[in-house]
Amino acid sequence: MHHSIEVKNLSYSYPDGHVALRGVSLNITPGEKVALVGPNGAGKSTLILHLNGILSGQGSVHVAGLPVIKENLGQVRARVGLVFQSPEDQLFSPTVHDDVAFGPRYQGLPEGEIRTRVEEALAVVGMQDYAQRVSHHLSVGEKKRISIATVLSMKPEVLVLDEPTSGLDPRARRSLIQLLDDLDLTMLVSTHDMHLVSELFPRTVVMDEGRVVADGPTGTLLADEALLRAHGLEAPD
């Protein structure tokens, strides 16, 4: 049984010289739900982009048992679903149906199967009636749920989300948290929302300045005030 995510000693510098990751190591077992926290610039988003090969640095990354290298990118991307922070740039098709169908269609699945996948994915995020709607006109909360559906339709093994609750009003946020709670997938979520962390994620990884500075049970980490303060975090009250 492989790890869902296995990162060994990953380092990465951007072309302009900025060092974003310094020897990051991380293991996530199937079924785990892990939160990734840290101040802006800690390298959380950079790390996430390595998980499906959009960026590639020194060190090794394995996802769902596959090494994330050029030859495997196709399969890797089918197994790890990445949902980015801004839904604007993820909904690039005219209708909701088209966006959710993109993944399965790219994979070459038959039309009937594509339709089924879209219906199932939309049902999971509670947006069954939205298939023919125009993505552009939806609210931020609705767009975020559709963005998750666009990735669920590929039936990934692992779900990685970057700031899922940012920009949402309390009601939309509540329903998104419910959605994530009901999803039975291995999950890695990068977030500033500490309430979300304490509610849904038994394990938390803290990053700062390109390194993993803490990795353990959420309860323990959130009780460690010195740790939180040192890395620009606040405990939920």
């Binding site: 399969q75 604007e88 993944g103």
Partner: protein, 272 residues
């Protein structure tokens, strides 16, 4: 996750950087014009022009290697002139067979081809130095100085301002697409969809970019109106050019004129 690489301006405090953008633009264009007017085959002049631009590159402290690497971008277009070697009449150099045709390379043809390649390579270096040593806002001032109309300059300015924002959006769109471009494990399934579908999706991305750009421009317009914009584009008057700048401009133009004369004399004196 910014598209920093789009901005070619390299910070430094060299003489070239300190030269005002207006004489810089004029000199760059004069240099390219001189190169273009130099007759084909005037190798001595090409060498001197190359030496001149290399010297400027050294003075600008942006790195000769950097400029030379960037200058390679224009090289592929050289293929367009390649046939000249074989189609221009003149004393033959060598010939070979290509299938059913016999191709004969002529000396004038080769001369013309090499001249075009050299001219192109030398000219693009001047353009690179200009772009790398002049912040874009200064180039806008230079444009006004050479009488580019105000409305056009303001379109350039707004385009530049939002270029990076939109390039960022485009990058994120492409990443989002890549993230959902997975290969199924089932054998016999061909990934990628049809070509037409891929083009359609890309078009949709472009369309979404355009719609959001137009809506963003509405918000920009509202912000401008809130600050008194009434349709007339006004800009601050450009500062006067100091004496140093005028001297450098005059000397530069004089040198180029001399090189041009030299080239013409070289070519036509040798015809006698």
């Amino acid at each position: 996750m910014h598209v920093h690489f789009l901005d070619p301006y390299i910070q430094a405090d060299s003489l070239v950087h300190r030269l005002d953008a207006r004489p810089k633009l004029v000199l760059a264009i004069a240099f390219i014009l001189t190169t273009a007017l130099t007759p084909n085959g005037a190798w001595a002049v090409f060498i001197l022009l190359l030496a001149l631009i290399l010297a400027v590159e050294l003075l600008s402290e942006i790195g000769v290697v950097y400029v030379l690497k960037r200058s390679m971008l224009a090289i592929p277009f050289v293929l367009a002139a390649f046939p000249l070697i074989f189609t221009v009449d003149g004393p033959a150099l060598f010939s070979f067979n290509l299938g059913a045709w016999e191709l004969t390379a002529s000396q004038p043809g080769l001369e013309r081809f090499v001249s075009i390649a050299l001219k192109s390579w030398i000219s693009v270096q001047a353009a690179i130095v200009l772009a790398s040593t002049t912040p874009f806002p200064d180039l806008l001032v230079a444009m006004r100085a050479v009488k580019v109309p105000r409305l056009l300059v303001s379109i350039f300015a707004l385009m530049w301002r939002y270029l990076f924002v939109l390039a960022d959006e485009t990058l994120r769109l492409m990443r989002a697409r890549a993230a959902r471009s997975g290969h199924s494990d089932s054998p016999g399934l061909k990934p990628g969809g049809s070509l037409a579908w891929r083009a359609q999706v890309t078009g949709g991305m472009a369309g979404s970019l355009f719609v959001r750009a137009i809506e963003r421009s509405d918000r920009i317009y509202m912000a401008m109106v809130s600050r008194g914009y009434d349709g007339e584009v006004r800009a601050a008057p450009s500062p006067r050019l100091g004496a140093t700048n005028w001297i450098i401009l005059a000397c530069g133009l004089a040198v180029l004129l001399l090189l041009l004369m030299f080239g013409l004399i070289l070519t036509y004196a040798s015809l006698h």
